[in-house]
Every structure is written in C-alpha cells, then in structure tokens.
C-alpha cells in the first residue's frame, strides 16, 4: 500500500481536472465527485497508515521515488514522497477533515452558479496540501507550499465581484509570499551549505558536524520566516482575518484545519536545524507566545462571527509554535490534529449560522439561536468547550500539556503568559458562544433562523467526536498513542521537575477555563449585565482590540503608502522623465545637429535601414563574385 501513496495527492488532483473542465455540466454532482475523490484519498491514506503500523517502530520510513524533477550539476531535487509517522499523521488529518468539509460544502454552496469551479479549487488545494506533507525534499515541499497558497488565493477571492474579497485574496497571497521568499533563499542555502535538499540526508543528526551552528541559525530562521507567513504569526498575521471573505468551508479547511498549520509542520519536520541552532528555537518560542497572547486579545474585540475564529486560529497556532519552541514536537502535532477538529467544527457551525440567517455575521445582531438551530448550537458548544480547555476534551489535553511542559521545564514566563492566553481564549470563545446562541434574538434574521440540511450536519457529528474525544490518543505524554507513534521521528516529549505540582496545574487550568466561560456567561447570557452599555463605557478598548491593535493600519501607513509613493516617483519621474528623457534628449541633439525636421528624420531611418541592408548585401555579393 505504501508504494501507492502517490494516489493520495493524485486522486484529489483528478477530481480537480474533472471539475475544472466538466464542472458546469456536472451541476450538483461536481460536489459529490470532489468529496468522493478526497474520501478515496482518505481510504488510501488509512491503508498507508496501517501498512506503516505493520512495520516495527524503527522501520517505518519509506521513500517512494516517482521521477527526477530538476537536476543540474550537483543539484538535484526529485519528485520523491516520504512516508513516515509524521507524514502519515498529516495525510490522515488532511484527508479525513478534508472529506468532512467537502461534504459540508455540498450543502453550503448549493445554488452557487460556479459550484464546479469551487470544488475544483478545493480539490486542487487538498492535492497540493498532500504534496506539501508528503514531500521528501524541501523543494517539492515548496511546490505544495506555494500551491496551497495559490488555492487559498483563488478561494478567498471566490466571490470576486466583491472588491473586499478580491483585495483580501491578493493581500493573503502577497503577504505569505514575503515569508516564502525568505524561505526559498533558506532552501537554496540548505543545498549550498549542507549539500542536499533531501530530508533523509539533511535531517540526519550527523549533519551537525558539517557546518558551524550559525549556519543552521540562518537556515532555520529563513525557513521559519516562511512558516510565519503561512501560519499567520506576528508580524505577518495580517492577512488571515481578512481571508474570512472566502466561503466558510474554505475558512474551515484552509484557514483553520490545514494550510495554516503548514508552518507548524515545517518547523516540526526540520526541527533538527532549530535544535542545532538553539537560538532559532528561542525565536520560535517567543514568536509563538507573543502571537498566542496578541491574537487572543484581539479576538476578544471582534464582532464578526468569523473574525473571532480567525484571530483564535492565529492564537492557537501560536500555542503550537510555543510547543515546538520547547522541543515538544509531538505535542505540537497533537494540538494540530485536535485543533483541526474543534476549529473546523466551530467554523462549520459559524457557516451554518450564516447559512440559516441570510448571511448574518455580526455577533451583536444574533442571540438565542440555540432554540432554532439545536444541532448547530450543539456543535458550537462542543467546539467551544474543547477550545476553552474544559477538562478531558481534546483542546484541554493539548493546551494543558503545553503549559505543563512550560512549568516543568522552568519556563515560568512562558507558563504565566500561556495561562493568560488560555484565560483569554476561554473569554473570547465564551463571548462568541453566548452572544450567538444564548439570550434572546437581537435581530429579525436571528429570530427567523432555520437549521441547516443534513448534509451539513453529518460532518458536525464526526468533527465533534474528534473535538471531544481525540484526547484519548494522548492522555499521557509518555505512553499516549500519538507521542509514542511519533517518537522515532520527533523524539521524546521533554520533561522536568520544576514548577508546581501537576495536580495544581490542572486546578489552575480549570479555574481559567471554567472561570472564563462563567464570566462571559454572566456578562453576555445571564441578562444580569447590560453588556452593550458596558461596551460603550469602555469604547476605546474594544475598538483598539477590534482593529487587531492597529497593526494593519500601521503597515498601511508606514510601509504600503511610502512604497506606493516611491514606486510612483520611480515610474513617472525617474523612468519616464530622467531615463527616457535623457535618451530622447540625445536623440533630439542628433536631430538638431543634422538639422532635419521630424518628417525627414523618420523617412531617413527607413531609407537608412534599406540602404544599409542592400548595401551590405551588394558589397558582399560583389566581393563574393570577384573573389
């Protein structure tokens, strides 16, 4: 089965081709075809996974050679796929969550005139994402990396007649491409300094002896720049909230469950570089903690049902980088899988709300939806409790393990800030949940909401099982299924005996999670607090947080505006004025020297050309005849 792993990305690609060219004729079937192609890929992925499990733990890496892609001199990058524990975990997450979201999208996108195109892009995305996680070398990984970026661009801007969507799409592509360019230089340096791009060569611990650690720092930081862009970490996070202009299934699949986690995957895959460097690992940790905190604060100020979740994703990705920065790679990977479930669930319920309320997205105008949309509300509650970190649920298992490691290994600052971010997470998701589904409807649309069709509800159930129960795979960081499975690739989860007792940590985390939820219930759902009045009294704060602390506006003023002005000067003054002007002036000089007017001059050139050509030929012919 492992040899057939190429089918995993190939099947969705086939779906893409069919839907692209025959999508219009297929009508509704386009969606079913797309879903089936991803489901088929999931079946193959499960088969590959079982095959891997059948081997002893140390012999689970297989490289499937497809063909030689680029080879010049000593440089070579092949189309090779790598099957190991890490890539198997990733293809399972991508194909299974992908199938569920495809299924949901059949209902969500019903009636859209460009259904075929939508599912074609969605299939193409899945295909590139699978190339990304299966690639055996960094350049093939980069193919997937840029490919998913392209699909993200196409799908954010899917409703291209809305200028906001078109702008958001371009912003996403360009912002992530800034990070990608650093990454590309990093990839080139990996080859130039380490002699290969293949993971099996450069991720061997013996590589440490090849170059001084400073080289690894440069390489790791360049790769991490790509991860910052793709995973929307500070300071390149600004594109993700805007990306919510895309259809909701896209937000769930690309901007929550899969593509944005590619940065985490990259760091985890190449963690050897970061470890040899040491410094780079600290940078990952700092960026992770800062982002987790910043985005959680910003999420608290959002009024759009999807933008809360977007900032939440940024924050949760920050947690994953925090884990990676502490060398707890398998914890980061577990959180990636758990987050894929509960965040996809939250996005799908948000989509269901918008579907049922004629595209209502302002939290201030919702309320009380749990009575008219019980299934959606149930899904949202499961996702929110998991995200908030209520004990036993998948989100709890992941986040708590990260905070416990921070405490145990004596990283008190990380633990304190992480706990603060966890408290904020409980607050923003509580606010989101209670404003949407509890209290009384605050608008006509909310009052007339209707539940979504079954095709959209089935995925809820599956994802809810994941959001609630995935924790069983990692109940214990040492003997849990996920850590032991990943250990040969990612090493053991680090431990220490600093910090407070484990039991105390659990108590603190539950005070934070349940306390945060309780406070938001009191404010937004108990009808005991006039939260609108409170909000007015605090006015500057919500506005500050709502604008993501004005980082975006800062970029617009400090970076974009001067760059535009500079470009305009270059184009009009320098190029059209100075460079071209100089040439024209030289031309005029000759013109006036020759003392001929414009008409004569143009005639002159034509005559000159002919004379030149004929003269040369005549001369040669003459000499030729004579000689």
């Amino acid at each position: 089965m492992t040899e057939a792993v190429w089918l995993v990305p190939a099947l969705p690609f086939l779906g893409f081709i069919v839907d692209l060219f025959a999508g219009r004729r297929l009508g509704r079937a386009a969606g079913w075809l797309a879903t089936l192609s991803v489901a088929a890929a999931a079946v193959v992925a499960v088969g590959v996974g079982l095959d891997v499990l059948a081997h002893p733990a140390e012999e689970r890496t297989t490289i499937v050679h497809l063909y030689d892609w680029i080879r010049v001199g000593a440089f070579s990058a092949a189309a090779d796929l790598r099957v190991d524990q890490l890539s198997v975990l990733m293809i399972l997450v991508v194909t299974i969550v992908g199938t569920l979201i495809h299924l949901y999208a059949i209902g969500y996108m019903e009636g859209d005139p460009r259904l075929g195109r939508f599912f074609a892009y969605l299939n193409l995305f899945v295909s590139f994402m699978l190339v990304l996680v299966l690639a055996e070398n960094l350049l093939l990984l980069y193919v997937g990396w840029e490919g998913v970026g392209l699909c993200s661009y196409l799908l954010i801007g899917f409703w291209f007649d809305r200028p906001a969507a078109a702008n958001a799409a371009k912003k996403a592509f360009v912002t992530t491409r800034i990070g990608d360019t650093f990454m590309l230089v990093g990839i080139a340096l990996v080859f130039l300094r380490l002699g290969s791009l293949d993971f099996s060569v450069v991720l061997d611990p013996a590589i440490e002896a090849v170059q001084p650690s400073g080289v690894f720092t440069v390489i790791a930081l360049l790769l991490f720049a790509g991860a910052i862009g793709k995973s929307a970490q500070v300071p390149l996070h600004v594109w993700l909230p805007d990306a919510m202009e895309g259809p909701t299934p896209v937000s769930a699949l690309i901007h929550a469950a899969t593509m944005v986690t590619a940065g985490v995957y990259l760091v985890v895959r190449t963690h050897l570089f970061f470890e040899i460097s040491g410094v780079a690992l600290v940078v990952v940790l700092v960026v992770g903690v800062v982002t987790a905190l910043y985005a959680a604060l910003s999420a608290l100020g959002q009024d759009d049902i999807k933008r809360v979740l977007a900032y939440s994703t940024v924050s949760q990705l920050g947690f994953m980088f925090t884990a990676a920065g502490m060398r707890a790679y398998s914890v980061a990977m577990f959180m990636l899988a758990a987050h894929a479930c509960y965040k996809a669930l939250l996005f799908l319920s948000a989509g269901s709300v918008m579907h049922g309320t004629h595209e209502l997205s302002d939290l201030k105008r919702m309320g009380g939806l749990r009575r008219r949309m019980p299934w959606t509300a149930g899904a949202a509650i499961a996702g929110a409790l998991s995200l908030a970190g209520v004990i036993g649920l998948a989100g709890y298992v992941a986040k708590d393990e990260i905070l416990a490691i921070a405490s145990e290994t004596g990283r008190t600052a990380v633990w304190v800030l992480g706990t603060l971010a966890a408290l904020l997470s409980a607050l923003y998701i509580g606010r989101w949940l209670f404003l949407t589904f509890f209290g009384d409807p605050r608008s006509e649309e909310a009052g007339r909401a209707h539940e979504s069709p079954p095709v959209m509800l089935v995925p809820f159930l599956a994802l809810a099982v994941g959001a609630v129960g995935l924790g069983v795979l990692m109940l214990d960081p040492e003997t849990g299924l996920v850590p032991t499975f990943l250990e040969p690739v990612l090493g053991a989860v680090p431990h220490g005996d600093a910090g407070v007792e484990a039991a105390v940590l659990v108590v603190i985390s539950q005070v934070v999670a349940l306390g945060g939820l309780a406070v938001t219930w009191l404010v937004y759902a108990s009808a005991r607090v006039d939260w609108l009045a409170l909000r007015l009294r605090l006015a500057p704060l919500p506005r500050f947080l709502g604008h993501g602390m004005y980082v975006d506006d800062l970029y617009a003023r400090v970076l974009v505006a001067p760059a535009k002005a500079g470009s305009a000067i270059l184009a009009t003054v320098v190029d059209a004025g100075a460079v071209d002007g100089l040439v024209n002036a030289v031309g005029r000089l000759f013109q006036s020297l020759a003392g001929v007017g414009r008409r004569v001059q143009t005639g002159l050139v034509r005559t000159y050309a002919l004379a030149f050509l004929l003269g040369a030929l005549a001369l040669l012919a003459y000499v030729g005849v004579r000689g």
Binding site: A166, R177, G195, R606, L620, G624
Partner: protein, 507 residues
C-alpha cells in the same frame, strides 16, 4: 539529409517567394500559405532537435561553405545547447503568432511575408557561427520588425519605431566596429584572419583591448536584452506593435541580446567577462527590481507586460554572469520560459483588447464573470510568470537564484525579492482585469473562440510541461552551459560536497 540547419533557416523564405510571386493572392490564401510554411518549419526544426545529441557540449550539425574566400567569410552554421531551444522556440511561436493575427486584414500578403522574413532572420541569428554572418542576420531582423511596428502598429507607431531603430542602430554600430577590429586582429591565428567564432575564441588579446571589445559587444546586446538603463525603447515598441509583433519581440528578439552575451561576450572575452561580471550583475539586479516596480505603476496592460520583461530578463543576465552551472543553465532555461510566458501574455492581452477595445486596466473589470476561460488562462500564464512552482518559470528562476547565491549571497537575495514584486504586479493586473463588477460596456463579450484555443493550448502545454518535467529541456542545455562555465574560468563556488551520511530515517 545533412543540412537540417540550413533547411530550418531558409524554409520560411519559400513562403516569402510564393507570396511575392503571387501578388493577387487572396487574404485567406496568404494566411494559409504563411501558416503552412511556418508549421513546416517547426516540423523541420523538430527533426533537427531529434538529431541533436544532448551529450555533446560543443557545436553540432555544423554546415560550412566558403562565401567570400578572400575575406575568409563563411556560411557557417551550427547548433549547441544554448541555441537549440531558442531555434525551436522561434519556430514554435511563429505559427502561433501567425494564427493569432488571423483577423488582421490590412495588407495581409505583405504582413505574412514580413513575418516569414523575420523568422529566417531570427533562426539565422541563433545558428550563425561566423561573426559577420551573425551580424548580417542580426541587422536583417531590424527591417521586418521595423515594418511590423511601423505599418501595422498603433497610434504612436512612428515615435516607437524611430526610437526602436535608433537604439538598436546605436548598439549595432559598436558591434560592427568590434567585429571588424576582431577580424583585423585575427590575422595572428594559425588559419589566418577569420570570422569563425570558434577560432576567434582562441585569440589572445591584450587585457585592455579585450575589455574595450567586450564593452562594444555588451552595448549592442544590452540594448536588445534590454539591460537597465537602455530599456526605454521596449515599452513604446511593445505598446505600439500589433499582437504578433509584441509576441515575437518579447519571446524571441529580446533573447538575441542575452544569447549574444553568452555566445560572444563570454566565449570571446572570458577574462573581461569575469572583470565586468559584478557590474553587469548589479545592472541586472537593478533591472529586476526597477522593472518590477515600474511595471507596478502602469495602467496600460501592454506597458505593464513590457516592464515585466525588463525584470524577467534581468534573471537571464544575472544567471549568465554568475558563472555557476545552475545559474547558467537556469538563465538559458529562463530565455525559453520567458519566451513562452510573456509570449502567451501578449497573445492574451491581444485577445482582451479585441474584446474590450482598451488596454487601460482602470477601464476593465469582471472578465472572470463574462469570459471565464479567457480570464482563467490569463491567470494561469500570470502564475507561470510570477514563478509558481510546478510551472516553467519557477525552475529557471530557482536555478538562477541558487547559482547566484553560491557566487554572491546579496545578489541572490535581491533577485529573490524580485519574485515578490512579480506577484504583486501580476495579481494586481489580473484583479483589475478579471475581478470586481463588470463595466456596463463589457457585458457581452464572447469567451475564447476555437481559433484562440488552438493558439493558446500549445503554449500552455509547454509552460506546464517544463514546470513538471524540466529535464526534457535541461538535459539538452546543460552539457553546453557546463562547458561555458568551465571555459570562463571563474573560481568554482559549487555547493558543499554531499554529506557522507547514510540515508536513514531523519532524526
């Protein structure tokens, strides 16, 4: 048959003779004659490609005949890994350009004959191994190109043609003087004075002489590339040229500059090439960034694509003067890639213009709703042009960046930055054109016609094929480019030797 190169070069003239000899030919027949001849030429060039031995680094399929014995001027043609794809690119795009001009109805017979003359000139330029013969072909191209812009061009065609002509003539003057000087010096060679580039490469010149000659060749070719700051003729020429003219100009004519740098500057003056490499690389880098930024500010779609050429050709020149295997092969591959992608962009701009009757991006919008296949194709080509992995440009650009980084980290880093800018201006133009609400005047355009599909599909297929399986092209380029890098004699800066570790599961 042994004269594949001659046949490829002069077959188009058969069409010219037919068109000239038949003055009353109907327009449809004139088009058909030109198309058939161009397709036949393409097939012959494929046969030539089939006989090309990819393991030979030097010239092959050489044909030699004495032309002017007293001057030792020869008809001398041959092909190597640098020129082989440029010839095929030319013969591949010519039928496409002719088919794209199907609707042109002004002096069709003359137009088609001019195009075919142009084709012979271009192929001859790439194949000539005798420097004077090269110069004749090089100059012979000017005349038909001048006609194409001057007769079938847009409103400011006179200004554009004069500018185009003065610029190129300016460069040619230097080139001719340098060639004659070189000929005079070649008397010291064992075989006596010669124009044969292979023998001239063995000529020992005083360093100062070599530098002056290098600069003379450089000026001529830098105008063609065009290298900053000699680029300002290009936007005007492109804007005024008819679609076929723009396609050929961008896809093939600009390559003659870069080709000349490799064929003559590097092989005749290797020492001077090394001493000027940094300066030229800086100009190429300025071109990459500057061209992209200026492109960003254009609202005329054609001018935008023209400036993008300035940026893209910067990669070719950068690769040429990095003197590493990867950069050199990547640079040559980029010549082919730029020909395909920018050629396709100009084809598409022409198709858009035929519908919207404007090239002003601020007047466009919503084409994705009105003509989704046209807009989608434009996006595909734009993505190839901005270096999306999996499509052609990525392979060449990556090799150039990799090879340049090996030589100079900062040069490589600046070149990489150019890649971001390409994304900005191409997506911006696509967004202006295809997204947003549809202007009232543009609600009723028809999508791609069958003829347009036939025009586009071969180019799109080539773009995809090179991106997915570049070996096809690179294998024939590399032996030659490797040899050129060795001959230039720059100190090797290759990658670190592969690490001697066993291929075990990564840690």
């Amino acid at each position: 048959m042994r004269s594949w190169l001659t046949l490829t070069t002069f077959l188009p003239l058969v069409g010219v003779v037919a068109l000239v000899a038949w003055p009353r030919i109907r327009d449809e027949a004139a088009r058909a004659v030109a198309l058939i001849v161009a397709v036949a030429t393409f097939l012959v060039s494929l046969a030539m490609l089939g006989r090309f031995d990819s393991s030979v680094p030097g010239f092959q399929l050489v044909e030699q005949a004495t032309w002017v014995g007293s001057l030792n001027l020869q008809y001398l043609v041959g092909v190597d890994g640098v020129s082989v794809w440029l010839v095929v690119l030319t013969t591949f795009l010519m039928p496409i350009a002719i088919l794209a001009s199907w609707k042109l109805d002004d002096r069709v017979r003359l137009f088609m004959a001019t195009m075919l003359v142009l084709e012979t000139g271009m192929i001859g330029t790439f194949l000539a191994l005798d420097v004077l013969l090269f110069f004749l072909f090089f100059e012979a191209i000017l005349f038909p190109m001048y006609l194409i812009i001057g007769v079938w061009g847009g409103q400011r065609r006179v200004y554009a043609t004069v500018k185009f002509f003065l610029y190129t003539m300016f460069g040619s003057a230097f080139l001719l003087v340098a060639i004659l000087f070189l000929y005079a010096k070649s008397g010291s060679l064992p075989g006596g004075p010669t124009f044969d580039v292979r023998e001239l490469a063995g000529l020992t010149l005083a360093p100062a002489t070599a530098k002056w000659l290098f600069l003379a060749f450089l000026v001529a070719f830098a105008v063609k590339v065009p290298l900053f700051p000699l680029h300002t003729w290009l936007p005007d020429a492109h804007t005024e040229a008819p679609t076929a003219g723009s396609v050929i100009l961008a896809a093939v004519l600009l390559k003659i500059g870069a080709y000349g740098l490799i064929r003559f500057n590097l092989s005749l003056f290797p020492d001077a090439s090394r001493s000027f490499a940094d300066a030229i690389s800086v100009l190429a880098l300025i071109g990459i960034v500057y061209g992209a930024i200026v492109a960003l500010m254009q609202s005329d779609l054609k001018r935008l694509v023209a400036y993008s050429s300035v940026s893209h050709l910067g990669f070719v020149v950068l690769g040429t003067f990095a003197f590493t295997q990867q950069a050199m092969a990547g640079g040559v591959l980029q010549m082919v890639n730029h020909g395909l992608s920018t050629g396709a962009l100009f084809l598409l701009v022409g198709m858009v213009y035929e519908r919207t009757h404007t090239r002003d991006l601020t007047q466009m919008g919503g084409l994705m709703a009105v003509t989704p296949w046209l807009a989608g194709t434009f996006l595909f080509v734009a993505l190839s042009s901005l270096g999306l992995p999996g499509l052609n440009n990525f392979v060449g650009e990556f090799l150039v960046i990799l090879g340049t980084l090996a030589r100079n980290v900062w040069f490589g880093a600046v070149a990489a930055a150019g890649v971001v800018l390409a994304a900005i201006y191409l997506l911006w133009s696509y967004q202006r054109m295809a997204h947003g609400p549809v202007p009232e005047a543009q609600r009723h355009h028809h999508d791609l016609s069958l003829r347009e599909v036939v025009v586009l599909v071969p180019v799109l297929a080539a773009i995809l094929a090179i991106g997915v399986y570049p070996k096809l092209v690179l294998d024939r380029i590399e032996p030659t480019t490797d040899a050129i890098v060795t001959d230039v004699g720059a100190p090797p800066v290759g990658p670190a030797p592969p690490v001697p570790v066993a291929a075990e599961p990564g840690g």
